[in-house]
Amino acid sequence: MRTTVKTLALPFGLAVALSAGAAGAAETTLPKDLPPYGQDKPLPVPAITQKTLDNGLAVWVLSRTDGPPKVDVVLAVRGGKASDPADRPAMSDLLASLLTEGTRTRSSIEIAEQLQAIGASIDATAGNDGITVAGSGLASGAERLVGLLADVGLNASFPEAEVTLAKANALQALKAAEAQPSYQASRAIARAIYGDHPYARTLTTETSIEKTDRAALAAAHTARFRPDRALLVVSGRIDAATALKYANGAFGGWKAQGEAPAEVVAAPREAKPQYVLVERSGSVQSAVRLGRPVFAANDADEIPAALANTILGGGGLDTRLNRNLREDKGYTYGAYSAFSVARRGGAFTSGADVRNEVTGAAVGEFVKELQKLIDTPVDAAELERAKRAAAGGYLFRNQLQSAVARSLAANWLVGRPPEYLGQFVPRTREVTAEQVQTMARRYFDPKTLSIVVVGDKAVAEQLQAYGKFDASPAGD
């Protein structure tokens, strides 16, 4: 492909030079007949109408006149798993799942049937920093959906019988989850990364479920669900005035009660690496995970680190990790890397599930790929491809109104402003190869990474070169 230079027209009047992905690619010669990429169209930026109701509730509306005839409504409140008591880790999971199991005026079945009648559903989930109650339904039912969402968010009553059933089911679901190697790996790497910080306690335990009762749930609900620490996003086939009218009608009378949860302490940015083998007898694969703590959301490193991660293993199959571990070696179905950042801290993790006999060799390849990004600057073509991949990912999410609404709520929970969404691509475009290398030095240094392997104990001898591994029994 010949080298072409195109201009990406941005609505902020920025004009950024953008070369085609193949420009100057030293490592691959593209087919001579392959047509070049066409002219890029302007990047759409969500137009958000923002209003704060008298009670302090922030309301953001994204209207659209195209796309499917649906409306998305998302309520986010501050205070998630990091605010759960230390002896009841992930109590927020029960809190979130019980919101739709009964309110002061509606039973569980009434909520389910009334949602069904307007072609809607409501999912409530708990994250590190908050609880998100997301509703989606046909546009014709918008007003009723906003009303139902307000009812489950504000008036959840945690009926005793529903709490008892939810606890019984959660205990069995935990047993089922613990049989999954991926679940054991997630738990072990989170502990290695976050140590004593609450971000390490995002997966529940038997004791936590047993100790949780109706009173604890109701108290946590009262403390966390308050308008001055909440955001409502409405998006879809609805105009801003109508959306604000519905929001005011359903949420205008909401009042804060009692004390809000305390601010979570900042998580450490460094941790002494740990090497853990979680024994899983008879396992035919090893779940390998590497990780370390990093920065919180809104850190200056956030955008360049995300781009470095796209190159390493955050994209699809044309990443350093997948080109090596999957397409060259055939060790795995897929290798990945990710930055997960929260309000008070963040983590870098990477991993793959590999067959037993290549467990040590796979760890060796992770180390090589991480070290290569530290030692050698990325070339211009690879950097450009990663930037285009980041822009494409943004455009894809923008097709889906529920994804945009949820992204806005997730950004708000970690403390990012609404403009972050529209600024992500232009800010990514400014990242240099030097910055990528700096990020690799800061966050990819293999000597700073904990390593967790969930697998048969026979793989232990393959790991000796990478650290002194402690054996940890499964189910701990």
Partner: protein, 456 residues
């Protein structure tokens, strides 16, 4: 041609439009067939400067060679391993480096290759899809590499995982009698390792020609432009003979089949139930879709309310027609309605089956009240629209409808077919299909002592 009969039958009815009519989402659909037999389906949508593309081939697990279980899926992986013109790595590099994403999946009746990207990457995508339709780089090294990758995929999804997709592979084995429908589409390691380059060549030649494919394009492009681009890149690929398709049809089962399994990795027992479904295009298809939603579609459904709530026997219940690898509208050969749930300590499987039977019997006897039926159909319309929101899914749904139904416009008609279903239809299909005789049951219990990775 049962399909024609269904369409004519519905067209002759005056379908009353309910309250949901305003929420009906009609897509613009333009279809053109090239001289080489490649059918092109386009739906314009300028709401995002992106496109979704799906190239669907009319071959899947049913048509893989005997003694080569898992071959259709292995072949799908090899479609990403390069061609004489575009060496291994080019495909992902150009699409991901152009801001796009791509994937492929193998199902019983089709294999699809899907992409979404900024519209600026559409021409390179079409070039790459046309290039691999012509021929592949039939290399022993790439075959070995992907045999390894597919084995890791099977380890991660089946052998190293509790339950290991038994509600798919083992339900099919038990429910169906013809090899095409009953065999394990992921394949045995012995068969996968036995695959040879000549198998790969023959499969590409026989099933991957333009006349055995449909391409769907959705997004910020006019239909005429899209037709011209497809003509430009695919028009010169000659049609290739396609082997005659075997008759894979099977009657409903007349005797219940049950199996008990142990699972060395699981900690909680599980139950799966399957019933053989009406054939594609049958007048029973839409009622069966509605009945499945009524039974297991969401948290208002009869089985969730009756067995997870109510009797408190199950932790969860999932399922549906053609679940988990498809839906009620994207199968061609025989497909089951599947239920899958984890059950609680002390619960007897027979009690769960009895409860399911009670819920079904109640529908057969009493039908469904009008309000419930309306609610269920309203939710189905919302879910249907959701499934079409992403351009990549819309392109794929349109291409599959063209391939499996011979008409992409069925995508716009299905909501009306669902809306036309009446309570008596549900009684009829519940009585006909959801019988004990037409049922298969697998009870899977933890077996801590056995070796991991053992799969019956």
């Amino acid at each position: 041609m049962t399909f024609r009969r269904l369409v004519l039958g519905l067209a002759a009815l005056a379908i009353p439009l309910g309250a949901a009519a305003a929420d009906r989402w009609q897509l613009p659909i333009a279809v053109k067939k090239l001289d080489n037999g490649l059918t092109v389906v386009v739906s314009e949508d300028a709401s995002s400067p992106t496109v979704g593309v799906s190239v669907v081939y009319h071959v899947g697990m049913r048509l893989e060679p005997k003694g080569r279980t898992g071959f259709a899926h292995l072949f799908e992986h090899l479609m990403f391993q390069g061609t004489p013109n575009a060496p291994k790595g080019t495909f992902d590099r150009v699409i991901e480096g152009g801001g796009g994403m791509n994937n492929g999946s193998t199902r019983a009746d089709y294999t699809n290759y899907i992409e979404t990207a900024p519209v600026s990457a559409l021409e390179p995508i079409l070039w790459l899809e046309a290039d691999r339709m012509k021929t592949l780089d039939f290399s022993a090294e790439n075959l070995k590499n992907q045999q390894d990758v597919v084995k890791e995929e099977i380890r991660v999804n089946v052998q190293n995982k509790p339950y290991g997709l038994f509600f798919w592979s083992d339900i099919n084995r038990l429910a169906f009698s013809k090899w095409e429908n009953a065999h394990d589409g992921y394949g045995s390691f012995a068969d996968l390792e036995g695959a040879r380059l000549e198998d790969v060549r023959a499969f590409h030649r026989d099933f991957y020609g333009p006349n055995n494919a449909v391409i769907g394009i959705v997004g910020d492009i006019k239909a005429e432009q899209a037709f011209a681009l497809v003509e430009k890149y695919f028009g010169a690929i000659p049609a290739r003979p396609v082997p005659p398709r075997p008759d894979v049809a099977e009657p409903l089962n007349t005797r219940e089949k049950r199996e008990s399994q142990t699972d060395a990795l699981a900690q909680v027992p599980a139950l799966a139930v399957g019933w053989k479904m009406p054939e594609r295009g049958s007048a029973d298809q839409a009622p069966m879709d509605v009945l499945a939603q009524l039974l297991v579609g969401d948290s208002a459904s009869r089985l969730y309310q009756g067995l997870v709530k109510g009797r408190e026997q199950l932790l969860n219940i999932e399922g549906g027609v053609n679940w988990p690898l498809g839906d009620a509208w994207d199968y061609a050969g025989p497909a089951p309605l599947v239920l899958f749930g984890l059950y609680k300590p002390g619960v007897q499987v027979d009690a769960v089956l009895e409860a399911i039977d009670e819920e079904i019997a109640r529908i057969v006897k009493d039908g469904v009240d009008a309000a419930t039926l309306k609610r269920v159909k309203t939710k189905m319309l919302a879910d249907y629209n959701d499934g079409l929101e992403a351009f990549i899914s819309r392109a794929d749904t349109l291409a599959k409808a063209q391939l499996l139904w011979g008409d992409a416009k069925t995508v716009n008609q299905i909501p009306a077919w669902i809306d036309a279903v009446q309570g008596a239809d549900l009684q009829r299909v519940a009585a006909r299909y959801l019988t004990a005789a037409n049922r298969v049951v697998i009870d899977r219990t933890p077996a801590p002592a056995a070796a991991a990775g053992d799969k019956p």
